[in-house]
C-alpha cells in the first residue's frame, strides 16, 4: 500500500467530515429520522440536545435546539452510537423527530451549523459502512438495488422532478460555468504559446460575476420552492371558542375537528392537508389560548404557541362578537409573533349587525401594523370567498408562483450545493489578480458543487470546449 503525501507540511490526513441526512423518506410522516455520522457527531448531539451524552444505544426524549440561537426546534428521541458499534462504524447519532417538513428542515439546518459537518452525498452512509467493513455478506447481497435507488436514480429523479424550467436554469448555469472554466483553463495552459483572444479573462470575470449574483438571488427565495414541494404550514390560532375548529372544517370541507360550544374543546393539534388554489397547505388547528388550571389544556396551549412559532402563516381567529377587548388581546398576541406571517380572521360575522360589520372593516383596515383582516362566518359561509382569495394570495406569496418569474429551489440539498457554489465563486474573485491558478480552483470547486445537482463535469469536457473555441497548436 502506498503511503502518499501530497503536501509535505500537512502532517497526517484530516479526519473525515461529519455527514448528516434525513434517512427516512421525505414528505409528511409521523416520525422522521435524521442520521449523523462522523467525528463531530458527539459535538452535534451535545450542542443540540443537551450537554450530557445519553448512554450508548438508548433512546432518550430530549428537546432539540438550534445550537446558535438556542431556539427549540422539536422534542424527539435521540440515540447515540459511539464508534465502532454503529451502522457506519463511526460515531453516529440519530434524531427521531416529528415528520413535518419544517421540523426536518430546521433540524438539518441546525446540523449544518455545527462545525465540521456537511450534508451527506447520495449513498455516503452506506459507503462509509462498507469502508468500515460493517456490512456483512447477506446485507451486501441485498443492497444492490437499494443503493441504486439511493444514488444516481435519486439524483436523476430529483432533476426530473424539478420543474422543467428549474432544471433548465441549473443546466444553463452549469453550461456557463463550464465555458467560463474552459476559457480560464485555456488562458492558463495556452496563452503563452498560442493566440488566445484578448478579453477572454474579462469575459470570464463578467460571467462569474453574473452567475454569482444570479445564484445568490436564487438563494434569497426564503425557501419558497421547498415550501411548494413540501407544503405551507398554516396554523389556526386564537382564543378559545373563537371558531378555529370550525374554520378548519370549513377549509377542508369535512368535519376533521370536533366542534362544540364548550370552550377548550380542542386540546391537541389537529392536522390536515388541504389544497388552497393549487398550493399544498398543511393546516393545523390548535387549542384555544387561555390561562387554564387543567394540565392537559396547559400542554395544549404550550403546543399551540410552539406551532405558531414554526408556522409559515398564522390564521388568527377572533370571535367578532367579543371584539373590543379581544382586538387588544389579539394585538398583544400578534406583537408576540409578528415575525410570522399572519391573517386576522374575524369569525361569527353573522352575529353582528350589518352597520358594525362595515365599521369594523373600515376601522381595522386603517390600523398600521395589523395584518390583513377578513370578516367571516363559518356558520353561513359569508365572507368565505373573500377570505379564500386573501389566504390564497398569502400562500402564493409564500410559495412563489412557479409559473411566474424565476423558478425557485425545491430541495434543501440543492440549497447547500448552491451555497457552496457561490462561496467557491468568491474565491475566484479573491484571487483573480494575484493567482489565476487559485482563482481557477474556485471555479472548479463551483462547478463541482453545481455538478452535484446537474451531473459531473470531467476534464475532457473542459478540453473539448477549449479546443472548439481556440486554435491550439502542437
Amino acid at each position: 500500500i502506498l503511503v502518499i503525501k501530497c503536501c509535505l507540511f500537512q502532517g497526517g490526513l484530516a479526519d473525515a467530515d461529519t455527514i448528516f441526512a434525513l434517512s427516512s423518506g421525505y414528505g409528511r410522516c409521523g416520525v422522521a429520522v435524521v442520521r449523523v455520522s462522523g467525528p463531530a457527531s458527539a459535538t452535534a448531539l451535545r450542542s443540540m440536545a443537551g450537554h450530557r451524552l445519553p448512554p450508548p444505544r438508548t433512546a432518550l426524549l430530549r428537546s432539540i435546539t438550534d445550537p446558535l440561537s438556542g431556539e427549540m426546534l422539536d422534542r424527539g428521541l435521540v440515540l447515540w452510537f459511539p464508534a465502532p458499534h454503529s451502522f457506519t462504524g463511526e460515531d453516529s447519532v440519530e434524531f427521531h423527530i416529528h415528520g413535518g417538513p419544517a421540523v426536518i428542515t430546521a433540524v438539518l439546518q441546525a446540523l449544518g451549523s455545527v462545525p465540521g459537518t456537511r450534508p451527506a452525498e447520495a449513498g455516503e452512509f452506506t459507503r462509509r459502512a462498507f469502508q468500515a467493513g460493517k456490512l456483512d455478506l447477506t446485507e451486501v447481497e441485498g443492497l444492490g438495488d437499494l443503493i441504486h435507488a439511493e444514488t444516481e436514480a435519486q439524483r436523476r429523479q430529483a432533476l426530473r422532478q424539478m420543474s422543467g424550467e428549474l432544471g433548465h436554469i441549473y443546466r444553463d448555469w452549469s453550461h456557463k460555468l463550464k465555458r467560463c472554466l474552459a476559457h480560464i483553463e485555456a488562458f492558463i495552459d495556452f496563452s503563452e504559446d498560442e493566440l488566445i483572444e484578448d478579453g477572454v479573462l474579462d469575459q470570464a470575470d463578467r460571467s462569474v460575476c453574473d452567475l454569482q449574483s444570479q445564484i445568490e438571488q436564487h438563494l434569497r427565495d426564503e425557501r419558497r420552492g421547498e415550501r411548494l414541494r413540501s407544503g405551507v404550514h398554516v396554523v389556526i390560532a386564537g382564543a378559545t371558542n373563537a371558531g378555529k375548529s370550525s374554520l378548519l372544517n370549513t377549509l377542508c370541507q369535512r368535519p376533521a375537528a370536533i366542534v362544540s360550544p364548550i370552550a377548550g374543546t380542542t386540546r391537541d393539534i389537529v392536522e390536515t392537508a388541504v389544497d388552497i388554489g393549487g398550493f399544498p397547505v398543511l393546516l393545523s388547528d390548535t387549542a384555544g389560548l387561555r390561562e387554564s388550571a387543567d394540565l392537559v389544556e396547559q400542554e395544549g396551549v404550550r403546543r399551540a404557541r410552539e406551532r405558531v412559532q414554526q408556522a409559515d402563516l398564522t390564521l388568527l381567529v377572533v370571535d367578532s362578537t367579543c371584539l373590543p377587548s379581544d382586538v387588544q388581546r389579539a394585538a398583544g398576541f400578534l406583537s408576540e409573533h409578528l415575525r410570522n406571517m399572519c391573517l386576522l380572521v374575524l369569525n361569527k360575522s353573522d352575529l353582528l349587525p350589518e352597520t358594525q360589520r362595515q365599521k369594523l372593516k373600515m376601522e381595522l383596515r386603517g390600523v398600521s401594523g395589523l395584518p390583513a383582516v377578513c370578516l367571516l362566518s363559518c356558520q353561513t359561509n359569508e365572507g368565505l370567498k373573500d377570505f379564500l382569495t386573501v389566504l390564497q394570495s398569502s400562500v402564493k406569496t409564500l410559495c412563489g408562483d412557479p409559473l411566474a418569474g424565476a423558478p425557485t429551489l425545491t430541495q434543501a440539498r440543492h440549497r447547500a450545493h448552491l451555497q457552496q457554489c457561490v462561496a467557491a465563486l468568491s474565491q475566484f474573485q479573491r484571487y483573480r489578480d494575484s493567482d489565476l491558478a487559485l482563482a481557477a480552483e474556485g471555479v472548479r470547486l463551483a462547478l463541482t458543487s453545481l455538478g452535484r445537482i446537474t451531473g459531473r463535469v470531467g476534464a475532457e469536457e473542459i478540453l473539448d470546449i477549449i479546443f472548439k473555441d481556440f486554435c491550439i497548436g502542437k
Partner: protein, 677 residues
C-alpha cells in the same frame, strides 16, 4: 569551458569502444528498445535501480536527438520535467546543460501553473544524454535493430497470459534474453513518412524504418489492439535568409531558472542566451494551404484528426480567417537554422517554400529541410497496467509515443516509470504506481491506462485535479523521498531533498510561531493593508499570504529567526499562500487514494458479474478494464451507483473467500463429528 566541452566527447569515445570492444552478454535484467526520450530515461532508471540493463538503438549518435522542436518544458510539460528530475531522471539536467534560452511561462498566473521552459541546443542535448548514459553503471548501449520480441506461448493456466523472454536482433542468430523488455519505439512502429504525395516507410527522416517483425508480434502473437496516430514537424529554415527585424523579439528571462533541483545555475550564462521571435500567418498562408490540398496526402487522410491542431493546414482549415502565431526559435548556439514553431506542414517542398514566404519575416527564407508528416501505430494504452506493463504479457513494458502520447516530456515521464517497474520486476519486486493525487506523472499514466487515447495525448495543467498541490516548486518534496525508497534516486539527491524538507518545515514552524496582533503587524509593515476584520493574532504564515508581503520583508523584521532560511524565500512564500488550499484538498485526495487502493481483479468478467450494473456500465467497464476502483470512478458513463456496486463487489469478494474457507472448514468439522458418532 574547454574541459566542459571535452567531457562529453571523451565519454562518447569510450562509449563506442565499450559497445564495440565487448560482445554483449546473453542475458540482461532489462532490455530497453529505443534511444529517444522514453528509452533513455527507462534505461537510466532501470540501471539506477540496480538492474543490469541493455539499451538497443539504431544509431548511437542519435541518442538524445530532438526529432522535432528544440525546446523542453512549458506549462504542464515543465511540471513533468521537474517530476522526472525529482526522481533523478535525466531530462531536467540535460535541459540545464543544453538550454540556451530559459523562461518561466505563466509567471503572472500563480506558481501552481508556472511553466519552466528552455530552448535547447540540439548538439549539447545529445552530448549530455550520450555521455550520461555511458557513465551509468550497469548500463550497456548497443547499436542494432530489434527483429523480434521473444514471448512464451500463453500460459494454459491463465489463458491469454504471455511472458516476455528477450529479443532477437536483425542480422544476428543469438537471441538476448531478459526478465523485462521496455519498448520505446516512438513513431517507428509501422511508421510512414509523408511529404506532398510521397509516402515512404520510416519513423524519422534519415533513419531506417524499424522491422515489421516487432509490430507483427505485438499485433498477432500478443493480440494487442493497435491504433494509428499522426504527427508532423515543420521545415527547418536557414537563419541568414530570415529578416528578423520584421518579427517581434521575445527575450528570455534575464536570470535563467534551472530545471533540476540539483542545479543552482544553468550551463548557459544569462548574457549568452538567445532570444526567440514571434510573427504571424497571413491570408496568403491560408490561400496556399487551400490551393495545395490536392497535393497533400497526409491532410487528405485526416479522417479523424485530433481536437487540437498539430499542423498549419489544420489550423487554417479549422479556424479560417484568423491569424496564427509562429515562433521562430534558435536551434542551437552555433546553429545556422531556425525552427518555425507552429508551421508543421506536409505539402510538397516547393509549396512549403511558397507558404513560408507568405509570412513577412520569411519572405526570402530558404528551407534547409522540408517539413513532413509521420503516421505510426500505437498500442491502445488501456491494455497496460499503471506500472506501464502490458496486462497480458508479463515483463513487457511500453513507454512514450507507442502509448499514444506526444511530447518529449510525456515520453520521458513514462520512460522513467516503465524503467523503474521493469527494473523492479527483474529484481523480483512488486510493481509500483504513482497516484494522480501526488504527481503529473500519475495523472498522465492514469489517464492513459484508464481512459485510453483518441488523439495524441499531451499534458495540460487542467488535467490535474489537484493542481494547487502538484506544483513545479514542490516536485522534490512529493517524489524524491519516495523515489529513494524505490531505489531510483541517488543518495546525494536524497540527502539534499531531506535537507530542503527539514529546512522548509523548520522555517514554516518559525513563521507560525511569530504571532503578533494586527496592530503590531501594521506598525512593522506599514505599507501592507492588513485586514481590520482580523483583530486577533496573525502568524507569520498568515502575513506571508498577503500579496505584497515577501519572505524577505519578514526576514528583515525578524532576522535572527528567519535569515537562516533566506535561500528558500520563494518556496516559503508559495507554501504559505497555497497551504490553506492544499489543506482543503486533503479530504478529496484521501478518498481517491482509498479508492485507488481498492484493486479490481484483472480477470473480472464485467458482462456477467452478478452485481446490479446497467448494460451500458458493464460495457464501459469491459472495454476499459480499470485496475482500481478509483480508475473506474473516472471512466465516462460510470454512475455513482455503479461505483458503489463495484465497491460492494470488491468487499464481497474479500468476505467471500474468507467465508468459503470458513464454511468448508465447518462442513469438514460436521462430517468428522458425524463419523465419530
Amino acid at each position: 569551458m574547454l574541459t566542459k566541452k571535452l567531457q562529453p566527447v571523451q565519454s562518447f569515445l569510450s562509449l563506442v569502444s565499450r559497445s564495440v570492444g565487448h560482445f554483449p552478454r546473453q542475458h540482461y535484467d532489462v532490455i530497453v528498445v529505443g534511444g529517444g526520450h522514453a528509452g533513455t530515461e527507462a534505461a537510466a532508471a532501470a540501471a539506477r535501480l540496480g538492474a543490469e540493463t541493455l539499451l538497443i538503438t539504431q544509431k548511437i549518435h542519435t541518442i538524445g536527438a530532438l526529432s522535432c522542436n528544440p525546446s523542453l518544458g512549458g506549462v504542464g510539460k515543465g511540471h513533468l520535467v521537474r517530476e522526472v528530475d525529482a526522481l533523478d531522471g535525466l531530462c531536467g539536467r540535460a535541459g540545464d546543460w543544453a538550454g540556451i534560452s530559459f523562461s518561466i511561462l505563466n509567471r503572472r498566473k500563480g506558481p501552481a501553473v508556472w511553466g519552466p521552459r528552455a530552448q535547447l541546443d540540439r548538439q549539447r542535448y545529445r552530448e549530455f544524454m550520450q555521455s550520461e548514459l555511458l557513465s551509468t553503471p550497469r548500463l550497456t548501449v548497443m547499436e542494432g535493430s530489434v527483429e523480434e520480441l521473444l514471448v512464451t506461448d500463453p500460459n494454459p493456466e491463465q489463458p491469454g497470459q504471455h511472458r516476455v523472454n528477450g529479443i532477437c536482433l536483425a542480422n544476428s542468430s543469438h537471441p538476448i534474453s531478459a526478465s523485462s523488455v521496455v519498448l520505446t519505439t516512438g513513431t517507428f512502429l509501422s511508421g510512414s513518412l509523408f511529404i506532398g504525395q510521397t509516402t515512404s516507410p520510416g519513423g524519422r527522416i534519415g533513419d531506417a524504418p524499424s522491422s515489421a517483425g516487432l509490430s507483427h508480434t505485438l499485433r498477432e502473437r500478443l493480440g494487442l489492439k493497435v491504433g494509428r496516430l499522426r504527427t508532423g514537424t515543420p521545415p527547418r529554415i536557414v537563419k541568414d535568409s530570415v529578416d528578423l527585424s520584421l518579427a517581434t523579439l521575445n527575450p528570455p528571462d534575464s536570470s535563467p531558472t534551472p530545471f533540476s533541483f540539483m542545479n543552482t545555475h544553468t550551463r548557459c550564462r544569462p548574457e549568452e542566451q538567445l532570444p526567440c521571435y514571434l510573427t504571424y500567418t497571413t491570408p496568403g498562408v491560408e490561400r496556399v494551404v487551400r490551393e495545395s490540398l490536392h497535393l497533400n496526402c497526409h491532410i487528405q487522410q485526416d479522417a479523424k484528426g485530433p481536437r487540437y491542431c498539430p499542423s498549419i493546414e489544420s489550423r487554417v482549415l479549422r479556424f479560417p480567417g484568423r491569424r496564427h502565431q509562429v515562433w521562430l526559435e534558435p536551434e542551437g548556439l552555433t546553429s545556422d537554422l531556425l525552427y518555425p514553431q507552429g508551421l508543421s506542414m506536409t505539402m510538397p517542398p516547393d509549396v512549403q517554400l511558397r507558404l513560408i514566404r507568405e509570412i513577412p519575416p520569411l519572405h526570402k527564407a530558404e528551407i534547409h529541410m522540408p517539413g513532413y508528416g509521420v503516421q505510426y501505430d500505437f498500442v491502445c494504452p488501456t491494455q497496460l497496467s499503471p506500472s506501464l506493463q502490458v496486462k497480458s504479457t508479463q515483463g513487457l513494458f511500453l513507454a512514450g509515443q507507442i502509448n499514444g502520447t506526444t511530447g518529449y516530456e510525456e515520453a520521458a515521464a513514462q520512460g522513467l516509470w516503465a524503467g523503474v517497474n521493469a527494473g523492479r520486476r527483474a529484481l523480483s519486486k512488486p510493481p509500483v504506481a504513482l497516484s494522480r493525487t501526488e504527481s503529473y506523472i500519475g495523472v498522465l499514466i492514469d489517464d492513459l491506462v484508464s481512459r485510453g487515447v483518441t488523439e495524441p495525448y499531451r499534458m495540460f495543467t487542467s488535467r490535474a485535479e489537484f493542481r494547487t498541490s502538484l506544483r513545479p516548486d514542490n516536485a522534490d518534496l512529493r517524489l524524491t523521498l519516495k523515489g529513494f525508497e524505490l531505489g531510483c534516486v541517488s543518495s546525494s539527491r536524497h540527502q539534499k531533498a531531506v535537507r530542503v524538507k527539514n529546512s522548509l518545515q523548520d522555517a514554516l514552524a518559525a513563521l507560525q510561531a511569530l504571532s503578533l496582533s494586527t496592530t503590531s503587524w501594521k506598525r512593522k509593515i506599514p505599507d501592507v493593508h492588513v485586514s481590520e476584520a482580523n483583530s486577533n493574532m496573525l502568524s507569520g504564515i498568515e502575513m506571508l499570504q498577503y500579496k505584497d508581503v515577501s519572505f524577505q520583508v519578514l526576514a528583515s523584521i525578524f532576522p535572527e529567526v528567519l535569515l537562516p532560511f533566506m535561500e528558500f524565500s520563494q518556496r516559503l512564500k508559495i507554501e504559505a499562500v497555497y497551504r490553506p488550499h492544499c489543506e482543503s484538498n486533503k479530504r478529496e485526495i484521501q478518498r481517491i487514494q482509498e479508492e485507488e487502493n481498492m484493486s479490481l481483479p484483472e480477470d473480472i468478467d464485467y458482462l456477467s458479474l452478478p452485481v446490479s450494473l446497467s448494460q451500458e456500465v458493464r460495457e464501459v467497464l469491459h472495454r476499459a478494464r480499470p485496475s482500481t476502483l478509483g480508475a473506474a470512478t473516472r471512466l465516462e458513463g460510470i454512475t455513482p451507483a455503479a461505483v458503489v456496486n463495484l465497491f460492494n463487489y470488491v468487499g464481497l469478494n474479500k468476505h467471500n473467500s474468507g467465508c468459503q474457507g470458513e464454511r468448508k472448514r465447518r462442513r469438514t468439522l460436521e462430517k468428522t463429528k458425524t463419523r465419530l458418532r
